[in-house]
């Protein structure tokens, strides 16, 4: 039971982490550029 539970949970967490890493890589990069632009225009 414990083995199955932690297998499913670990797999879900790893999949979530991969998705978030991809999303944050692209959208976070845009945020970086926006922040620099905003501070440059001050």
């Amino acid at each position: 039971m414990g083995v199955l539970f932690w297998t499913i949970l670990s797999a879900l967490i790893l999949i979530w982490y991969i998705i978030v890493t991809v999303k944050v890589t692209f959208k976070g990069g845009k945020d970086v550029m926006d922040m620099i632009t905003k501070l440059k225009s001050k």
């Binding site: 039971m1 944050v24 926006d34």
Partner: protein, 490 residues
């Protein structure tokens, strides 16, 4: 024995370091005042906020501490991560504590307390936060040095030089670019760290066989490895402390809160919390899996209580192939640099904004304020180096982090909740909570080193003391506030 190759792995690390430090230095020109330096002009957006918060809360010390928990307690060791995820999600979803904090537009937590409790409490809160924060951070450098020495195969005699080099690399861009450099480098570090961790954990799961690892874990640690309630070493007092620390940390830990304060508005701050909350369990479960892999590879006898923290780095050094070692070391350096830079700026911001306030009264020109903030970061760096060299860590690293964090988490979380939601809270209660919350864990740290009291302290254990501290701080706030109210009526 290590598979680290100076040419291939060293090249990967050198490339990573060059890119990060260059990016950190590039944005330094955009810092024009103290507000830019401490809260990046309050221009933090959602995804950069998630990357920054995740990268900050995952350092080499955290990774080693959580791998040690996995090595010793199996999956039961990730209980603090589950508690942190739940706490961050609930706080982000409800806005409890963080909404009034961000709405006030303050730079640090103690600044919020000024209105409710007065300037003396602001000063005392700042002092206790810096004390707890610096003692907590004091062990980071040594753990990073240990990790790098083992994985890269350096002689342990060079550990001080490694620690100094890591610190210098971080200090240069943090001193010059402040929070802005921290955020930009955090982004790069999040990407590198995530790629390195995902590849490494997946590789071990495939190489050793996921189910083989888990069945051997049950054979060696029993069912308690999968359920903290069945784990003799992981009792109810420890679980309760994990929950209390989790809520207090997401409400008041300055490096976490600084993202709330840097967010462009309250809505974004809440979304950053909700978005980052699952990462709190990631930062426990991935290192714990590495610890479980180390237990599978070495068995339970090679490492004992005194050196179990070295199991995970030794596994990486011996098993990961050339090239991948370099990626993982770069990932860990990324994790560590983002943590160190954020922690340095978090504590320096409190020293400048709250402890030094009686001196500068907020009247110093921006240039002078910037110079002082940069100097403070330099002083913190020197302290970290000296403390890291001097302090002999005994017991679980995670427990040390919890106990030192409790020095201020217990009282400041009570102060935050009281200042936002309890009209009758006053400075007497706040002073009593700060004093109680600091004295108990500091006494624990001192008495566990004194021979005459050592046995007694170990009998009680850090978990009961931790829980007692949180309860005492809350009671002290209530009693202190009531006494002042009664005295005023008389």
């Amino acid at each position: 024995m290590t598979n680290f190759d100076y040419f291939i792995d060293g090249g990967i690390i050198l490339f990573y370091l060059t890119v990060t430090i260059a990016a950190g230095l590039y944005v330094r020109k955009l810092v024009t005042g103290v507000d830019d330096f401490l809260v990046a002009g309050r221009s933090l957006n959602l995804y950069l906020g998630i990357a920054s918060l995740a990268a900050t809360e995952f350092g080499i010390a955290t990774c080693m501490a959580n791998a040690e928990l996995g090595f010793k307690y199996g999956f039961a060791g990730i209980t603090p991560g589950i508690a942190l995820t739940a706490a961050m999600f609930i706080v982000g979803w409800t806005g409890f504590g963080i909404k009034p904090l961000r709405d006030k537009g303050v730079v640090t937590l103690p600044e919020l307390f000024q209105d409710k409790f007065g300037s003396r409490i602001r000063w005392a809160a700042g002092l206790v936060m810096v004390l707890g924060g610096l003692l907590n951070m004091g062990v980071f450098l040594r753990q990073a040095g240990n990790f790098l020495a083992i994985v890269c195969g350096f002689d342990m005699g060079y550990i001080e030089i490694i620690m100094t080099l890591i610190l210098l690399g971080v200090a240069v861009y943090t001193i010059l670019g402040g929070m802005l450099s921290v955020l930009i480098t955090d982004y790069i570090q999040f990407v590198i760290m995530s790629i390195g961790m995902i590849i490494t954990v997946s590789l071990f799961a495939i190489k050793f066989g996921w189910f083989d690892m888990l069945f051997k874990l049950r054979e060696q640690l029993g069912d308690g490895a999968f359920n903290p309630f069945e784990n003799g070493e992981y009792g109810l007092d420890r679980i309760l402390l994990d929950i209390l620390v989790a809520f207090a940390a997401v409400l008041t830990w300055q490096t976490i809160i600084s993202r709330v304060l840097s967010a462009k508005d309250t809505k974004t701050a809440k979304k950053i919390y909700i978005g980052t909350s699952p990462f709190m369990v990631v930062r426990f479960i991935l290192p714990a899996i590495l610890g479980i892999a180390a237990l599978y590879y070495f068995g339970p006898d090679k490492f004992d209580d005194t050196n179990s923290i070295f199991a995970m780095p030794t596994l990486i050094a011996e098993v990961l192939p050339v090239g991948l070692v370099g990626i993982l070391v770069a990932a860990m350096l990324a994790a560590d640099m983002s943590t160190n830079s954020s922690y340095m700026i978090a504590w320096s911001s409190i020293i400048y904004n709250d402890i030094m306030k009686p001196i500068h009264k907020g009247l110093w020109p921006d240039k002078k304020g910037l110079r002082w903030n940069r100097l403070l970061i330099g002083f913190i760096g020197v302290f970290l180096l000296l403390y890291g060299l001097w302090y002999p860590l005994t017991g679980d690293l995670w427990v040390y982090l919890q106990v030192t964090g409790t020095i201020y988490l217990s009282s400041i979380s009570v102060l935050l909740v009281s200042s936002c939601y309890w009209k009758k809270a006053n400075d007497w209660g706040a002073a009593a909570a700060i004093f109680t919350g600091a004295v108990i864990p500091i006494s624990y740290l001192v008495f566990k080193e004194v021979e005459a009291t050592q046995e007694f302290i170990y009998t009680i254990g850090p978990y009961k003391i931790g829980v007692f501290t949180y309860v005492s701080a809350a009671v002290a706030m209530y009693v202190g506030s009531k006494i002042k109210l009664i005295k005023q009526k008389i």
